[in-house]
Amino acid sequence: MNDPRLLLAEDDEMLASLLRYRLEKEGYLVEWVSDGRAMKESLERTLPDIVVSDVLMPYFSGIEMVDYLRNEIKSSIPVILISTAGNETNVLNAFELGADDFIAKPVSPSELMVRIHKILKTRVA
């Protein structure tokens, strides 16, 4: 099986770099985008196996991205959202729109790895 492709959408460059390093180390092919517009272009170009996105992004939020994926592109690829604590309303909206999982900041990279792995494993099964 090929390495899974992962789209990482995070506007914080340092955190993105850290997560990217960790994800690549775990064997994922990571494409990093720093804003919503680039994320949308990337999704139009090619669909990854999983999307890890921050909720609050410039131009195009994570929730809008879920809506776009589910209702425009009609794709069911798994989406994990990252958001700050106390933003539960957004998260609930995202879950209603079809997000698969949610992880709060500060992010534990190890926890994120486990969640990604679990979701992909469920999908494959």
């Binding site: 770099s17 850290l18 390093y21 500060p106 534990s108 990279p109 190890s110």
Partner: protein
């Protein structure tokens, strides 16, 4: 000629200044140069800042993989990458020789620290110390610039350098506010004992925001064993006390009841409010009375808190004061809250008052002993049909005005507090309203138990302090009954045979006076009341009107009272009849041995006053005054003698009936013997 010159010569108001053209050029060049220099400086600064920002970003990008490598390197699982790891370590140490790189690395680590958690965060903090970046923060602590010191403290706090605690501690009371606040957060954050040190030593004010941040730090601390915060309730720093109260409430330390109740008397409203919150949450029942005491002088927020506290610790005994608040307080929110609390304590004790039409009064019942029904069931289940019937049966009893009147729109079965009723002492209200509520409750229980032939009111007569019904007497607060003339007996102490040296004897006389017995201002001795629950007089009711008070105050000195009572306790003492008897040595010359109220004034006043007073006698005088005037006919002063003669003549002409039908006004006081006639001076002053 001169006048013509000044009149017709035009004088210019404005005159263009004569400036040399070269000077204008010079000034233009000067200001142009300054402008160019200014914009050039801004341009250079912007470029420099942009370049610096780009350099920082570039350095961060270079450092990020290194940091990631350090964070996620596991020497046990990645034996083959060990050499690369060591190489990177050497490389980063080389980079750290540059202060700029050190600063960037510190920033990167601090940014990442807020974004990551778990093992990555622990490794991040360790990396910070391993790279010796905390030494830079130590250096910042020694700076004279407050922003650098603050930055250093913040850095050490966020990177959890526990060893920095002793270095930061002296800044807790720094005179520079930013440093002080940063140091307070650091002290509490770095070590568990930091909070105790901070609370012990804090001399400056602690802002609300600071308290919230400190509390947040404590909440996030794992396995935190909080100290007993009651120890700081005695602090001289008001904010420390306030913070301690909040911590006590947060950590549910309910072992500081006396101190917290004492803090209700604190001058600071915030402290009072925090104490009231603690009392409400911990349900300190001993605080009921202090809460009531401070209520009057409190603001809206504190009043609401007090009412909330009373709703949690109060009971039916608090209904009277709540009723009073719900009717008298000037604040709408407080009044609403009071009614809400009343219903919380005793459901149904406060009924709707707004927009309720008064019920029509009905003819008095033939059988006055039949007890009126209550307006509502005690469980708050009001039945409308029953309500109408029951309301018609209510006579005006016990001093309550239960009859709906236009002036009493808020008739809910409880005694009204009119302007005069507002002066009724709180104790009386307490007891009376308690009696009233108790009777209601008992009556409701008896009604539920089944029909009874007996009057339920009679069955509760064994309870002390029950107010007796006197349906035949109208004692409502809205009573407009006029006092009627009645025959009264009074005692006069008169000298034997007119000579005081031979002794005195009591002489009973009869005269007419206004019947003021309808004024139910009774202040019986409590012992007497307790032992005599069959007393026929109502124990409490409205206060005397201002007119009555003035009347009494005017008349009492004439009977030899030495002055007004000094305090409330003296009011409670029954005024003995003998107090009103004339003092023989003070009476004016009176040949017939009768007493005249003018005698003392005439004796003590100057001549002018005497003349004025004498001129008033015909309007109010009677036979006693005539006798008194006859005594004045032998006065040493000729003017007094003449005036007395004139007045006597006028008085004799105005006599219209027998002597007994024209009573001296002072005798009206005869019936006041057991009533409270005065209010304390304070109350009268407020009016």
């Amino acid at each position: 000629m001169t006048q013509t010159f000044w009149t017709y010569r035009p004088l210019p108001l404005f005159q263009a200044p004569e400036i040399h053209t070269n000077l204008l050029w010079d000034l233009g060049i000067l200001f142009g140069s300054i402008s160019l220099a200014y914009f050039g400086f801004i341009f250079l600064m912007r470029n420099r800042l942009s370049a610096r920002k780009a350099a920082v970003r570039q350095h961060k990008r270079e450092l990020a993989p290194m940091i990631s490598n350090f964070l996620f390197y596991d020497p046990e699982t990645e034996a083959e990458g060990r050499e690369a790891y060591i190489t990177m370590k050497i490389e980063i140490r080389e980079l750290l020789k540059n202060p700029f790189n050190r600063r960037i690395l510190s920033e990167v680590l601090m940014d990442l620290k807020t974004d990551v958690s778990g093992s990555a965060r622990v490794k991040l903090l360790r990396l910070y110390r391993d790279l010796g970046l905390h030494q830079d923060a130590y250096t910042k602590l020694k700076s004279w610039r407050w922003e650098r010191v603050s930055q250093g403290i913040r850095e050490l706090t966020e990177m959890e350098v526990e060893k920095a605690y002793t270095l930061i501690r002296p800044f807790v009371n720094d005179k520079r506010g930013v440093i002080r606040k940063q140091a307070q957060l650091a002290t509490v954050s770095l070590r568990e004992e930091g909070l105790s040190f901070f609370m012990d030593t804090a001399r400056y004010s602690i802002s609300e925001w600071q308290q919230i941040k400190l509390l947040e730090i404590l909440r996030q601390r794992e396995d935190y064993n909080p100290p007993r915060f009651r120890d700081w309730l005695t602090s001289e720093n008001r904010d420390v006390v306030l913070f301690a109260l909040r911590l006590i409430r947060h950590y549910n330390q309910n072992d500081a009841e006396p101190a917290i109740i004492r803090l209700l008397q604190h001058r600071n409203t915030m402290v009072k409010m925090a104490a009231a919150e603690c009392i409400r949450d911990f349900r300190f029942k001993a605080a009921r009375d202090p809460l009531k005491v401070i209520f009057r002088k409190s603001g809206e927020a504190l009043k609401l808190l007090i009412l909330e506290a009373l709703s949690s610790i109060g009971d039916a005994h608090d209904l009277p004061i709540l009723q009073q608040i719900s009717e008298q307080d000037g604040n709408f929110v407080v009044r609403s809250k009071a009614r809400s609390v009343m219903n919380t304590l005793v459901p149904g004790s406060a009924l709707p008052v707004a927009g309720i039409d008064p019920l029509e009064p009905v003819a008095p019942q033939e059988n006055p002993k039949e007890e009126p029904q209550v307006l509502q069931t005690f469980q708050g289940q009001t039945e409308i049909n029953e309500l109408e019937v029951q309301a018609e049966e209510i006579p005006a009893t016990e001093g309550f005005n239960l009859k709906p009147t236009p002036s009493a729109p808020e008739d809910n079965g409880l005694p009204e507090l009119s302007e005069q009723g507002a002066h009724i002492p709180m104790d009386d209200w307490d007891e009376a309203l308690f009696d009233f509520c108790l009777k209601q409750e008992l009556r409701a229980i008896m009604t539920q138990a089944g029909p009874s032939e007996e009057d339920p009111g009679d069955d509760i007569a064994f309870i002390p302090y029950i107010v007796e019904d006197e349906p035949e007497e109208e004692t409502s607060l809205q009573s407009d009954r006029e006092p009627a003339l009645i025959e009264v007996d009074y005692q006069v102490v008169v000298p034997e045979t007119g000579n005081p040296s031979e002794g005195y004897h009591h002489e009973t006389r009869t005269s007419s006076a206004f019947d003021l017995s309808f004024i139910p201002l009774v202040t019986e001795d409590s012992a007497e009341m307790a032992g005599s629950h069959q007393a026929s007089e109502p124990r409490w009711s409205r206060q005397a009107t201002d007119f009555e008070i003035q009347e009494a105050e005017t008349l009492v000195p004439a009977f030899g009272l030495t002055g007004e009572p000094e305090d409330e306790t003296s009011f409670s003492e029954p005024i003995k009849t003998e107090y009103f008897t004339a003092q023989p040595e003070k009476t004016a010359p009176n040949q017939e041995g009768t007493f005249c109220i003018f005698s003392e004034f005439i004796r003590e006043y100057d001549t002018e006053s005497k003349l004025i007073l004498l001129s008033e006698i015909p309007a109010v005088g009677g036979p006693k005054e005539a006798a008194f005037l006859r005594g004045l006919l032998e006065d040493q002063d000729a003017r007094i003698r003449e005036k007395a003669a004139a007045v006597l003549e006028e008085l004799n002409g105005a006599q219209v009936g027998p002597e007994e039908t024209k009573p001296a006004r002072g005798l009206q006081l005869r019936n006041f013997g057991r009533f409270r006639l005065w209010r304390p001076k304070k109350e009268r002053t407020h009016e």
